[in-house]
Every structure is written in structure tokens, then in C-alpha cells.
């Protein structure tokens, strides 16, 4: 039940893009077409689902203060490697993205054709690193981290697809010249975010 609440919270109430502002760059750049928005959204869900729990394991069993206690070596047990958190997370994400790309290419060629070009973009998508850092900050356990990762991805995909759909319509509207493109995208995102604020009244 708790996990379901967490999922609802991270998809709607604290949407990773609309309330935490993560992954804005690719969100704005790739939302011009529905096709690419969909592809990137799916790719983000996939990578977040794998990367968040993986980073949780690394954080809990390697980096935290006293995390190396399982090795049974006294000198390691008191070590605090948490200053390496950022570099480890980003390395894990970068290599994971590469591996996922290779695996998808080898075993799911159809999927690769639609997602392939988006995967490399994901390394520098702050939603992935952001989710990993928030997971640590909020002290989730492994199950929670996995659910948080997946549902953050779903929330992100939802937001980018919504924007892509709206931008498609706006293209045929008479927007003031200076506001065309990027400016309007921001304002529409603001309105979307206001819409999502309504969810914050839900009691979980």
C-alpha cells in the first residue's frame, strides 16, 4: 500500500519534471514531435527503473559511512566514501546506458530502431541522476527506490508526451512572435504544473 502511495506521489504529486524541474533540457528539446517524445519517455522509464535500484545498492553497500562492514575487514568498516557519491552515480548511469543500448541492439532490434537514438541522450538527463540523489536524500529502501525510479520515469514520460501533444496544436495558433517556440513551451509547462498542483490535495 505504501509503495502504491509512493508511486502515485512521484507520478502526479511530486512529478519529477513539473515540481522538481529535473530533465528539463531534453524535455524542451525533444517535445517538438510526439514520436520522439514517446521514444525518449520510454527510454527514460527503462533506464530509471534499472539505474535507481542499482545506485541504491552501490550507495548502501559501498559508499555510505560504515557501508563496507559486510566485508568483515575492520579497516574498511569505518570508511566513509560518501564523497564519491556523485562520481559513482554518474559512472554507473553512463555505463548502464551504454550496456542497455548494446543489449537492446542485440536482442530487441525493433525496439532499438525506435529508442536507439535516444539512449545516448539519457546520460546527461538530470532526471536520472536526480532520482538517484533524491532516493539517497530521502532514505528509501530498495523496494521504495525501485518504485520511485519507475514511477518517476512514468511521470516524466507523461509530462513530455503531454507537452508534445500541446505543442503540436499550438503550432497552428497565432502566438505573439517573440513567444513562439521556447517561450510558449515554458508557459504551457507552467500551466501543466498548475494543473498537477491539484493532485497535492489527495490524501494518501
Amino acid at each position: 500500500m505504501n509503495l502504491l502511495n509512493l508511486a502515485i506521489e512521484s507520478i502526479f504529486i511530486q512529478n519529477i519534471l513539473l515540481s522538481l524541474f529535473l530533465g528539463m533540457c531534453s524535455y524542451l528539446a525533444q517535445s517538438k514531435k510526439m514520436e520522439s517524445a514517446k521514444g525518449l519517455g520510454m527510454a527514460v522509464i527503462m533506464v530509471l527503473t534499472i539505474a535507481t535500484p542499482l545506485n541504491w545498492l552501490i550507495k548502501t553497500y559501498l559508499l555510505d559511512k560504515g557501508a563496507l562492514a559486510w566485508t568483515g575487514i575492520d579497516a574498511l568498516a569505518s570508511l566513509d566514501l560518501s564523497f564519491l557519491t556523485f562520481i559513482c552515480f554518474i559512472a554507473v548511469i553512463a555505463s548502464l546506458v551504454q550496456i542497455v543500448e548494446m543489449v537492446v541492439d542485440r536482442f530487441f532490434p525493433v525496439l532499438y530502431n525506435s529508442l536507439g537514438i535516444f539512449l545516448p541522450l539519457i546520460t546527461v538527463n538530470c532526471a536520472i541522476l536526480g532520482a538517484a540523489l533524491f532516493m539517497g536524500e530521502r532514505g528509501y529502501n530498495l523496494a521504495e527506490a525501485t518504485v520511485f525510479g519507475t514511477s518517476s520515469g512514468v511521470g516524466w514520460a507523461l509530462a513530455i508526451m503531454a507537452l508534445a501533444a500541446i505543442r503540436k496544436k499550438i503550432r497552428y495558433s497565432n502566438v505573439p512572435e517573440g513567444l513562439r517556440g521556447l517561450g510558449m513551451a515554458f508557459i504551457v509547462t507552467g500551466l501543466l504544473a498548475i494543473g498537477f498542483l491539484c493532485f497535492s490535495g489527495i490524501s494518501l
Binding site: E9, I13, Q14, D80, F83, L84, I87, G139, Y140, N141, E144, S200, S203
Partner: protein, 243 residues
């Protein structure tokens, strides 16, 4: 030299330089960071006890904090049963250990109790640490009691990530100041349930006004204030501190 070897050599050198640099800086700065963390907790405690410097401002200098702490404040660590934990002092407690309640990290929750002795009147004040879930973040604070262990002397919320402008207002004076003078016990000396009610409702000695449009945050605060007081109250009764 083959291409591959060159790449590996380059990568190794970059990694080595980066890691050595990081390790050196991190170990050089970590005492300072630890001191900051400890100072941070102490500042909050002084704030809830209403200790100010000559200018009436919050005390911030680390030397000053240190001297006030060693002269006037003692602390003990309690467990969830309200028993004193031997061999652990408040200075050892990490922020994680006093906010472990809602997390599944398996860390044990400890309850620090700070006792302040006024240098002029030698009256005592007691500060409890309270924390728990609001609407979507952990809200943390200290509540100080007067020496009857009943009347609230002060309330300071020092951390939350509630909705800005709504739930996050718990840190504003208008909310915190209401707690002053409220009581935990009813006229028969029994623990009364503390309430945070909708603004405009009927107030009594055990209730404060909530924040408009932040009912969920208020409900959360209400629950953890009562839960945490129950733990500290076990200690107060066991030790017969309350006259």
C-alpha cells in the same frame, strides 16, 4: 604502443588524479564539515531555549555556542521506552539517528533530551526533539518545556520540505509562537491529546490554530508531536521528575 593501451593508460591516469585529489580534499575538509553539523544542532537547541546574545540576536559564533553549551546545558539520550541509553551522549547522535522513525533504514531511533539551567535563576528548561511526516516531507523541530514538564516554553521547527507558502509556514513565527504557554496535561494531571485544529476552531490549553490550506501538514505535526511527547513523558514519569 597499441591504441587500446594508450586509451587505458590515459583513463587510468585521469582516474588516479581525480581520486587522489578528491580523497585529499575530502579528508582535509571533513573535520570542518563535522563541526558544522554539530554546531547546526546546537544552534537550534539554543534557539528553542530562547538564548540570545547581548544584541538579542541568535547566537552564531561557534566559540560562543560551545561555551554556553558547556556551562548551561546538559543532555541525555533516551530510547523509545523512555530509558536513558548508557554510554551515548547527545553529541554522538547523528541527524539520521534522531529522525529514523519513518524510514525503513533499520537505524534505531534515539531521543535526545537537553536540559538548560538558567545561570541567574537556576530554573530548568527541557528541550525534546520532535520529528515526523508532514504532507510529503519529514518535519523536524525542538520543543522546550518549562520545569513543570507541562507548559510549553518554546517551539522551533527547523527543517521541512512542505509546500512553500502553505505547509512550509510551520517555520514562521506566527505558527510557532502559538505553542508558547500551551499545556500537555489536563487539570487532572493526565496527558491530554495535543491538537492542531482548523483555523477559527475553538482553542483551549491543548490546541493551536493550524495553517490555512495546510491541513495535511497540520495533521502530520499533530501526530508526531503526540507520539514524541509520549516517549519523553515515559522518562519524566519513570524518574518522578514532575512534582
Amino acid at each position: 604502443m597499441s591504441e587500446q593501451f594508450k586509451i587505458i593508460r590515459f583513463a587510468t591516469i585521469v582516474c588516479l588524479i581525480c581520486s587522489i585529489l578528491l580523497a585529499v580534499v575530502s579528508s582535509a575538509l571533513s573535520p570542518r564539515q563535522e563541526a558544522n553539523k554539530a554546531n547546526d544542532i546546537k544552534t537550534k537547541v539554543l534557539q528553542v531555549f530562547g538564548v540570545t546574545n547581548e544584541l538579542g540576536k541568535a547566537v552564531t559564533g561557534s566559540a560562543e555556542i560551545e561555551s554556553i553549551f558547556s556551562e548551561r546545558i546538559t543532555g541525555l539520550v533516551l530510547d523509545a521506552e523512555g530509558k536513558v541509553v548508557a554510554g551515548k551522549s547527545v553529541a554522538d547522535l547523528t541527524p539520521e539517528e534522531i529522525n529514523a522513525k519513518d524510514k525503513a533504514t533499520g537505524l534505531k531511533q534515539f531521543y535526545p533530551l537537553y536540559i538548560y539551567t538558567d545561570p541567574a535563576t537556576s530554573k530548568k528548561l527541557y528541550a525534546m526533539h520532535v520529528s515526523g511526516k508532514g504532507l510529503w516531507s519529514t518535519i523536524k523541530g525542538y520543543m522546550a518545556l518549562e520545569d513543570d514538564l507541562n507548559t510549553i516554553f518554546g517551539m522551533v521547527f527547523y527543517e521541512n520540505a512542505e509546500t512553500p507558502g502553505l505547509g512550509a509556514e510551520v517555520e514562521k513565527p506566527f505558527f510557532q509562537d502559538q505553542f508558547k504557554g500551551k499545556k500537555w496535561l489536563d487539570s487532572d494531571g493526565k496527558v491530554a491529546e495535543f491538537k492542531i485544529i482548523k483555523p477559527g476552531g475553538e482553542l483551549n490549553d491543548h490546541a493551536v490554530d493550524g495553517i490555512t490550506a495546510a491541513t495535511m501538514t497540520g495533521n502530520g505535526v499533530e501526530v508526531f508531536l503526540n507520539d514524541d511527547f509520549t516517549v519523553y513523558n515515559k522518562y519524566f514519569t519513570q524518574e518522578g521528575l514532575r512534582k
